[in-house]
């Protein structure tokens, strides 16, 4: 199994001098894996996701993504790496003035591996085939989140980072979202890190790690 991500001894603090938020984290992710990152609130899940997803500058020498060290990568490399991964969040962040289909199509212009995903087909596969022309506000929370999933996956990323994507959904909708993620990730051969403390959906993972106070629990 090709390795996507290799984290070795990562420690991170928001301010120099202040106590670090992440302590000596080591973690690997292979292609096709769905890793559940669980842990109580404040344990550092979002922080870790933001570092892997290049939303924050990572410290040098600790995060290796697609073979490149995030801490020392130059701007061009960072941009290129960003194209190969996608993030989804607790909120859907769909553009209000675009329809569901247009929102998904917006993700298509930067395909990591071209030709793998079609916006309409992807929406249909996520159960939204009859809602392509809806504005975001005309969709339920679960449907909105599935559109966001489609927008992320339409570029056929090699890594999907999802931070609490089901936190504001009821069980049925949460199920639809994570099952959609799992099915499409499997189809696209995309690694997934799903940060959540939602026990109801953890079964979609192929592996699970638990965080506590900025540390990964052994086992």
């Amino acid at each position: 199994m090709p390795r996507i991500l290799n984290i070795q001894g990562l420690s991170f603090g928001y301010r120099a001098g202040a106590a670090p938020v992440l302590h000596n984290i080591s973690l690997q992710l292979n292609k096709g894996e769905i890793l559940i990152l669980s842990g109580p609130s404040g344990s550092g899940k979002s922080t870790l996701i933001s570092l892997i997803g290049l939303l924050r500058q990572a410290p040098p020498g600790s995060i290796n993504l697609f073979g490149a060290d995030l801490g020392t990568a130059d701007r061009a490399t960072q941009l290129a790496l960003r194209q190969r991964l996608r993030c989804i969040f607790q909120r859907h962040y769909l553009l209000h003035s675009l329809t569901a289909l247009q929102n998904v199509a917006a993700g298509q212009h930067f395909q990591s591996r071209p030709g793998l995903a079609d916006p309409a087909a992807l929406l249909a596969a996520l159960g939204l085939g009859d809602k392509l022309g809806r504005w975001p506000e005309e969709l339920s929370g679960g449907e909105q989140q599935r559109v966001a999933v489609a927008r992320a996956l339409v570029s056929a990323p090699e890594l999907l980072l999802a931070d609490e994507p089901t936190a504001s959904l009821d069980y049925e909708n949460a199920r639809l979202v994570v099952d959609g993620i799992a099915a499409q990730a499997a189809r696209l051969g995309c690694g997934v890190i799903l940060a959540t403390h939602d026990e109801r959906i953890m079964d979609v993972g192929t592996r699970r790690v638990e965080m506590r106070d900025g540390r990964l629990l052994p086992g």
Partner: protein
């Protein structure tokens, strides 16, 4: 190398700009009206400026010839220079000159008989047999001006001269009394008819009379002319005749084409009076106000969509894409506001024309200018607004 913006992205930018414009049309109504209002102001401003600029050469445009002879140091109509008629002999003699029409200009003071109020009025002194101004040619009442003291009155003068027009229309004649401190005897000017010319910013009204009458009123020599208009023979080249005459005429005279004189007057007006500057300033302020409204609108748009734009940014959309979205949005609002502004300016024109006695009608040129200036403003504002996006932190999405 990847271009800064691929076609597909540019098309998406256009879709986004278009949809976010009409999807929030109702919410941006205020800013939209602001933009339209500012553009209206600019249009009206430019209309006044053009009307004033044009009015400054109103008499020039009436001159019945291709060339004019003036005093060597003639600067324009603001400070009138003069020369001796005798100097024109060589002009009469030139084979390509068909006619020489003298013109004497001066402002005088008249006193209203009823209110005793003083007003200044411009006098255009012509030779009734060889009128130097087009509006006097071929009129029966021009011949009446041969009698001393007879004048024609400009119906388009500002209403400053009492009920002259009413009396003229009712009785067929009216009179004015000159009130000049420099002459011992005041003259009674008998108005025997009227014509239409129009006021300017400096000239509130005009009288047409023979140069003899004007010289008499002023106590000035009949031989001192303001200018002479040369009508050329058919086929003559004005520039060439002007060059030839320049060599023949006395050094105290100067010959130029009518177009040169018009350009000189307009230049004088724009550069040596504060009016040109004031108008430029007002136009500039109008455009700045327009820019502020667009800025406001784009700012709102960015605030509302900041997270969504940041998501697009981390997906790979670059600064050029966002700049294009904002530019197009700004352009759309401006383009939508323009017709409204043009309509408003046209309506305002109808109302203002009645009170200013200036010809402020909209022209295609002015509309095109406002379109370009509005577009320029929209572009600058759009580009500036793009900078606001850079500050957004992607980590705030989590």
């Amino acid at each position: 190398m990847r271009p800064p913006l691929r076609l597909a992205e540019a098309r998406f930018a256009a879709t986004l700009a278009w949809q976010q414009t009409w999807r929030r049309a109702r919410r941006s109504l205020g800013a939209f009206i602001g933009i339209a209002g500012a553009l209206t102001l600019v249009l009206v401003q430019l209309g006044f400026q053009a009307a004033l600029e044009e009015s400054a050469v109103r008499i020039h445009r009436q001159l019945t010839g291709e060339l004019v002879v003036v005093a060597r140091h003639f600067q324009g109509f603001r400070d009138l220079d003069w020369f001796e008629r005798a100097g024109l002999a060589q002009a009469h003699a030139h084979p390509q000159v068909a006619a020489v029409a003298p013109l004497m200009l001066d402002a005088i003071l008249v006193r209203d008989r009823e209110s005793q109020a003083m007003s200044s009025i411009w006098c255009i002194g012509i030779d009734p047999d060889q009128p130097a101004v087009r509006f006097a040619v071929g009129r029966a009442d021009t011949q009446l001006l041969r009698l001393p003291g007879r004048v024609l009155f400009d119906r388009e003068s500002r209403p400053r001269y009492g009920d002259v027009l009413t009396r003229l229309d009712r009785d067929g004649r009216a009179s004015m009394l000159t009130a000049l401190a420099s002459v011992p005897l005041q003259a009674e000017l008998e108005i025997v008819g009227s014509y239409r010319l129009g006021a300017t910013i400096a000239v509130e009204g005009t009288l047409l009379m023979s140069e003899a009458t004007l010289a008499g009123v002023l106590g000035r020599s009949r031989e001192r002319l303001t200018l002479a208009v040369l009508q050329l023979a058919p086929g003559a080249r004005p520039a060439q005749v002007a060059a030839e005459l320049a060599a023949l005429l006395p050094a105290s005279l100067r010959v130029m084409t009518l177009d040169e004189m018009i350009a000189m007057e307009q230049h004088l007006w724009a550069s040596e009076t504060p009016i040109g500057l004031i108008f430029a300033l007002c136009t500039g302020i109008g455009l700045v106000v327009c820019g502020i409204f667009i800025w406001q609108l784009l700012g709102q748009l960015i605030d509302e969509n900041l997270h969504e734009y940041v998501v697009l940014r981390i997906m790979g959309y670059n600064a050029a894409f966002f700049a294009l979205v904002l530019l197009l949005t700004a352009l759309l609002y401006t383009a939508a506001a323009l017709p409204l502004a043009i309509l408003a300016a046209a309506v305002l024109d109808v109302f203002s024309a009645g009170s200013t006695h200036l010809d402020t009608h909209l022209t295609v040129g002015r509309i095109v200018f406002v379109m370009l200036a509005g577009t320029g403003t929209a572009l600058c504002t759009g580009a500036l607004a793009g900078l606001r996006l850079r500050r957004a932190d992607p980590a705030a999405l989590l």
